[in-house]
């Protein structure tokens, strides 16, 4: 392919407030071409290409320069951002990932499962009798944050404070980052202090739980320094809350649109695990991941220059009829894997936790909330980047 055809590839204005990853424009672009041009580099639209490029050795994770691109230089947030796992590549990334792995082991999930169930039941108890709730404010947000509290060994009552700090720190991801800098810095300082206190506690009382495992990894400082230990805890808090909150909200919205699937899940709770996968295929909260070319290379005859930003459109890829010929939402279908947790070297480190907690939540919700339906206006985040509902009023028949 020549530069001429590059200019002819479809164009998607991904920065437009009305842009939707599920729009006809994206479907048409995917039909016409494996990639589209965008405001920032290219977007990859099809399953096989997203699969390959997630693992491409000439690509690195693409948001590492975010603070600098937002004209924020220095400060606690920018330092943390540049140093944490997601922004690192090569040997440093590998070393941090090796050190963190034991804390994220699937073995720890078995012990957490009863805690997830107790948390879900407690939250449902809080609103079940009413027959209605805001599913985000009354379930997914306290649940996602409560899971992190369980993980960190903090009492559930801490959840509101933790959620607020994470939300304030999250302002860093918005277009108003620079204006919000003072709030972001204060929140980052508080979260780092939280992490410090937890570490001090675990050093005094060694244990085999999440923070305990990270503290053990930190025993050899040449492998995991004190600062890296704190940065990892902050990343788990920051990267684990909004993602889980949004993904569970998207699950409920999807099931409301497919009531027969919800009834099926209530009848067959063992389908909950598969339900999580099917939801993440059709409505992933992380609709795309970003990569950046580290050197010039050619892919599918397209020359890609070093520094090019590449959006891998997970949502578009896993709704591709060429690969998923049976359309629709079916929790009993055998499907190819989705990209809701990314893939390759940066594959979500928290996926065993997220899969475990969402499975338990869906299982209990389907048992206890019959015939869920929309009950007022749903407020949505933009249908691009990291998406989900901000408020999701629902009504249901308590079981």
């Amino acid at each position: 392919m020549t530069q001429e055809t590059l200019a002819e590839a479809p164009y998607l204005d991904v920065a437009a407030p009305t842009f939707s990853i599920r729009s006809q424009a994206v479907l048409d672009a995917r039909e016409a071409s494996w990639y589209a041009r965008t405001n920032y580099g290219i977007a990859v639209l099809r399953y096989d290409d997203v699969m390959k490029l997630l693992r491409h050795p000439k690509l690195r994770q693409g948001s590492y320069r975010w603070p600098e691109l937002s004209d924020v230089h220095g400060g606690l947030f920018a330092r943390w951002w540049g140093a944490m796992l997601l922004s690192q590549e090569g040997e440093t990334h590998s070393r941090l990932r090796r050190m963190a792995n034991p804390a994220f082991s699937p073995k720890l999930i078995t012990e957490l499962r009863p805690k997830f169930q107790a948390l879900a039941n407690k939250l449902i108890d809080g609103f079940a009798a009413k027959g209605e709730c805001d599913f985000i404010a009354e379930f997914t947000e306290p649940y996602a944050t409560g899971v992190i509290c369980d993980l960190l060994g903090l009492p559930f009552e801490t959840w509101r404070e933790l959620a607020d700090i994470a939300a304030e720190m999250g302002l860093a991801l918005g277009v108003t980052f620079k204006q919000d800098l003072a709030t972001v810095e204060a929140a980052t300082a508080r979260l780092l202090k939280y992490a410090e206190d937890l570490v001090a506690l675990k050093r005094a009382n060694p244990s085999d739980d999440f923070v305990g495992m990270l503290v053990q990894a930190n025993a050899d400082k040449s492998q995991l320094s004190d600062q890296e230990l704190l940065d990892m805890i902050v990343l788990a808090i920051f990267g684990g809350i909004d993602t889980t909150r949004n993904q569970l909200g998207l699950a409920m919205a999807t099931f409301i649109e497919h009531p027969e699937q919800w009834a099926l899940l209530a009848e067959q709770p063992d389908l909950a695990r598969a339900a999580v996968e099917e939801v993440m295929r059709v409505r992933p909260t992380v609709t795309w991941v970003t990569r950046e070319a580290t050197e010039d290379f050619t892919y599918n005859d397209l020359p890609i220059k070093a520094g090019t930003t590449i959006h891998l459109f997970s949502q578009s890829a896993t709704s591709d009829p060429a690969v998923f010929p049976e359309p629709g939402f079916d929790i009993t279908a055998e499907r190819k894997p989705h990209f809701g947790f990314g893939g390759g070297a940066h594959h979500c480190l928290g996926h065993f936790i997220a899969r475990g907690d969402m499975t338990e939540a869906l299982k209990l919700l389907a048992q206890r909330l019959k015939n869920p339906r929309f009950n007022g206006e749903v407020k949505w985040l933009a249908d691009s980047g990291n998406t989900g509902a901000i408020t999701l009023p629902i009504a249901f028949d308590p079981a």
Binding site: R98, N101, S105, P106
Partner: protein, 61 residues
């Protein structure tokens, strides 16, 4: 101990290569290769790799 990978579920994330680089690696074509028989000294690393594999595709015997 014996090491095997179920290539029907492996998605080539390379988390095993990160966890145990002396046992797992990618060849020039991006295919996964591994040492099929490792000695006791490598047990901890290989177990860490099996634990970390997102698809749980690594079989130890």
């Amino acid at each position: 101990m014996k090491v095997d990978v179920d290539m029907s579920i492996c998605l080539l994330h390379g988390q095993c290569v990160i966890a145990a680089p002396e046992v797992f690696s990618f060849d020039d074509d991006g295919g996964l290769v591994w040492v099929a028989e490792v000695d006791e000294a490598q047990r901890a690393d290989v177990e860490a790799a099996a634990d970390a594999c997102p698809e749980q595709a690594i079989l130890l015997g």
